[in-house]
């Protein structure tokens, strides 16, 4: 008989369907659109490697590289954000916007490659001390 009480409660609470363009509320941990910060990206292409949906593409040149992201292909798994060591990627805590034409939300950035960070000078090895007089 619980089911009839449940049905009566459902009738009393009313329709829960959300009509477009209203969007359902989301939690802070919701995985939405991937945001890209060009200033932080070093062009390692780890995000492209981790993107199983092929939403992220990466074209490498000698001095520049092009990073693009198509939310239409994205499954919002968050693996790219997780793997980004430079913290250049983040995800919105909101439902992705609705689009009517394929590729509307696609974004591409062409960036200059950053010069590789200079390696810090290795500390001298105390076991290999040069003999005095050796040049």
């Amino acid at each position: 008989m619980n089911i009839f009480a449940m049905l009566a409660k459902n009738l009393r609470l009313g329709i829960q369907t959300i009509r477009f363009p209203a969007r359902p509320p989301v939690t802070a941990a919701f995985r939405g659109l991937v945001r890209f910060d060009p200033a932080l990206c070093s062009g390692c292409a780890m995000c492209r490697f981790r993107c199983t949906a092929r939403a992220i593409t990466f074209t490498a040149g000698k001095s520049t590289f092009t990073w693009s992201y198509d939310p239409g292909q994205c499954t919002f798994c968050g693996r790219c954000v997780e793997g980004c060591k430079d913290h250049a990627l983040s995800q919105d805590s909101a439902c992705p916007p609705v689009y009517l034409t394929i590729g509307t939300l696609k974004k591409a950035y062409t960036l200059q490659r950053k010069p590789p960070a200079e390696k810090a000078a290795a500390p001298p090895d105390p076991s290999h001390v040069s003999p005095p007089g050796a040049s």
Binding site: I3, F4, L7, N10, L11, L13, G14, I15, Q16, T17, R19
Partner: protein, 308 residues
């Protein structure tokens, strides 16, 4: 019953002109009420009609040979039988009918089930054949109770004429019979918990899997008119006949609607049963109702003897 009245009943009320919009309306009520009980919006009011018109405009895959011919014929036979069954309902008193029309009505109500069984096997689809086999088992199971109920109602009031039955006062035996018919209606209309032949999650649409376009539209219309004829049969047997025809029509419509709502609540509240459980349930129902009807017969005969 003269020809003009027969044609008016078949084509106007409660036949085609009434039964087709009523079928769409009942289908909408069922879908909408189930949706509201599940906190969904449900379809807009004209959706069943839109579905019908849209399906009529779609092309059907070409089918050759006798199977193709039969697949086109089954929905047409089913619609014709349902519409004729609706036309036989004695909603308006003293407007026709003939001796034995109750038997004819029961036969007409069985034709859609037979057509569904045949359609599934004609389609040569694996899902269609499973659905047809289920429908056949289900038909055998619930029809024992259904026919028992109809026969007990007719025998208790010594007539197989629908109009005479509708005009006679309602006896306790008729209430038992109506209860038995009500228990059979979910199986007859393929709704939960007896939606075995068209179990979407298991066998797609069962016998309807291979159907499309105008043929599918006819199946949907036939299903809607089965709702009208089955609920209408219970309504005409349950309500007393009033002197004014408009009151009769109103009572018929309201009670049919209440029955549709009740069946929708049942459909929303229950899950599909397995075929063996269903058959066992209807066999138990047969035993219970047979005992009840026997007791009611014996007690009524005893009372008559005491009075005389």
């Amino acid at each position: 019953m003269n020809l003009a009245i027969a044609m008016a009943r078949l084509l106007l009320f409660p036949g085609l002109l009434f039964a087709v919009p009523a079928a769409w309306f009942f289908l909408w009520v069922e879908r909408k009420s189930v949706a509201l009980m599940q906190q969904r919006i449900g379809p807009p009011f004209p959706q069943p009609m839109f579905d019908f018109v849209k399906l009529l405009g779609k092309s059907t895959p070409p089918r050759r040979g006798i199977d193709g011919f039969l697949m086109r014929m089954w929905p047409l036979i089913s619609v014709s039988a349902s519409a004729t069954a609706a036309g036989l309902l004695p909603v308006l008193p003293a407007r026709g009918g003939f001796e034995g029309d109750l038997i004819f009505l029961i036969a007409l109500l069985e034709i859609p089930a037979i057509c569904i069984i045949a359609a599934g096997f004609s389609s040569r689809s694996m899902f269609g054949e499973i659905g047809s086999a289920r429908e056949a088992v289900l038909t055998v199971a619930y029809n024992v109770v259904f026919l028992l109920a109809i026969l007990s109602i007719a025998a208790s009031q010594h007539t197989f004429r629908l109009e005479a039955l509708a005009q006679l006062p309602v006896t306790p035996l008729r209430y038992i019979g109506l209860l038995a018919i009500l228990i059979c209606l979910p199986a007859k209309l393929h709704i939960n918990p007896f939606s075995l032949p068209n179990a979407e999650q298991e066998i797609y649409s069962g016998p309807m899997t291979e159907y499309a376009g105008a043929e599918l539209a006819m199946w949907q219309l036939s299903h809607g008119m089965e709702w009208v004829a089955s609920c209408g049969l219970v309504a005409t047997l349950a309500i007393p006949q009033f002197s004014h025809w408009a009151v009769n029509v109103l009572a018929f419509g309201v009670l049919s609607l209440v029955l549709v709502l009740l069946l929708s609540v049942l459909a929303a509240a229950t899950a599909r049963l397995a075929i063996d459980t269903t058959v066992r349930f209807y066999w138990k129902c047969t035993l219970v109702f047979a005992c009840l009807i026997l007791i009611a017969f014996v007690s009524s005969s005893f009372m008559q003897e005491v009075r005389s």
